[in-house]
């Protein structure tokens, strides 16, 4: 058996795939460090807040008066030394939590982060169980009698 087709190689492949998925999800979930300039910080925070009057557009992408005003306030708070979460909380305290594009990680709304992961784990478990069951099922070779039936059927057509 080739060293690239054996069970060890397959197991290693699955581990590499799982590691790649975890790293990708990790990079998507956590940003890679705070932005450097005030403008970058304002842009980053504004992109996580919803424009109060224009549907799902972010404050960063919107040019209505309310969004421009919020960007000015974000800049002021950033220059005061407030952290992004403190700035988001301050804006949420005035406009309501519905302006947050990122749901909070705690409370009932925090389930939107947990439930997809739980569903994914269950689905992966189900797929793994199904694959394992298929692998355990013995292959049945056709008997001479089966071959004779098939040949007879082909002959009778």
């Amino acid at each position: 058996m080739s060293r690239f087709t054996g069970p060890g190689f397959r197991r290693a492949s699955w581990i590499i795939i799982a590691a790649l998925i975890i790293v990708s999800l990790g990079r998507a979930a956590f940003d890679d460090g705070p932005p450097r300039t005030t403008e970058e910080q304002v842009e980053a925070i504004a992109s996580t807040l919803k424009c109060p009057i224009c549907g799902s557009q972010s404050v960063a992408d919107s040019d209505v008066a309310a969004s421009r005003a919020i960007r000015v306030e974000i800049a002021r708070l950033v220059e005061e030394g407030k952290t992004p979460s403190e700035v988001r909380a301050a804006i949420g305290a005035s406009f309501g939590e519905q302006v947050q594009l990122i749901p909070p990680a705690s409370g009932f709304a925090g389930l939107v982060w947990i439930l997809p992961v739980v569903v994914l784990i269950i689905a992966l478990g189900a797929v793994s169980a199904a694959l394992a069951r298929w692998r355990r099922t013995p292959l049945r070779a056709a008997t001479e009698e089966d071959r004779a039936i098939v040949e007879q059927a082909l002959h009778d057509r």
Binding site: I53, G55, A65, A66, V72, S94, A109, A123
Partner: protein
């Protein structure tokens, strides 16, 4: 002939486990939908505000006429804070209602009106009042800082602050004198011994 049927016990357990898995996933997905569906819609121009029942943000600054004004000086009276812009048609439509409210309560001294500009130029706001009347103080807010503190999304918006300094009502859109009077009367009736 070869018996190709599988074991009966296995046949029964497969659908059962599939059913359990389906139910579990369905419950989880239903929970997810519930969480998302119960979040407040941001598209509603409702009168909800996280400020209701809380101490009002600071309403202070320089008026369009260059005078310093602060709503805290009006503590003990009802304060109606009206956010407006000279370019805003609904603001123009509600203006006569504010004129009537101001005329009635200025004499009584029980309520005061304070205007705050929103996304407007000082000269334009001053010209608006010169043309359409109104002598209540109008704070010039070039950065919309007061508007953001009140969560103003779109003018006109009006907030009613009780004599103790708490926000009791938010009106998104044009307001009427009757609505303001009714609100104040209902609160005063509820507070009466």
């Amino acid at each position: 002939m070869t018996d190709l049927t599988t074991e009966p016990v296995e046949e029964e357990s497969k659908p059962r486990s599939a059913l359990v898995a389906s139910v579990v996933i369905a419950v989880l997905v239903a929970l997810l939908v519930l969480v998302l569906a119960t979040r407040d819609s941001s598209n509603e121009r409702s009168t909800q505000s996280p400020l209701l029942g809380k101490v009002a943000p600071t309403v202070a600054g320089t008026t369009i006429d260059g005078e310093e004004v602060s709503a805290t000086d009006l503590r003990g009276r009802w304060v109606v804070v009206n956010f407006f812009a000279s370019w805003c048609v609904p603001c123009l439509e509600e203006h006569p209602e504010l004129l009537a409210f101001d005329a009635a309560h200025r004499a009584e001294g029980d309520a005061a009106l304070v205007g705050v500009t929103f996304d407007d130029k000082t000269d334009d706001a001053r010209a608006f009042f010169e043309e359409h009347g109104g002598t209540w103080p109008v704070i010039d807010d070039p950065d919309n800082r007061i508007g953001v503190a009140f969560g103003v999304a779109q003018v006109p918006e009006t907030f009613v602050i009780a004599p103790d300094g708490t926000v009791v009502q938010r009106y998104a859109g044009g307001v009427t004198r009757a609505a303001l009077d009714e609100l104040i009367t209902s609160y005063e009736a509820a507070a009466a011994p």
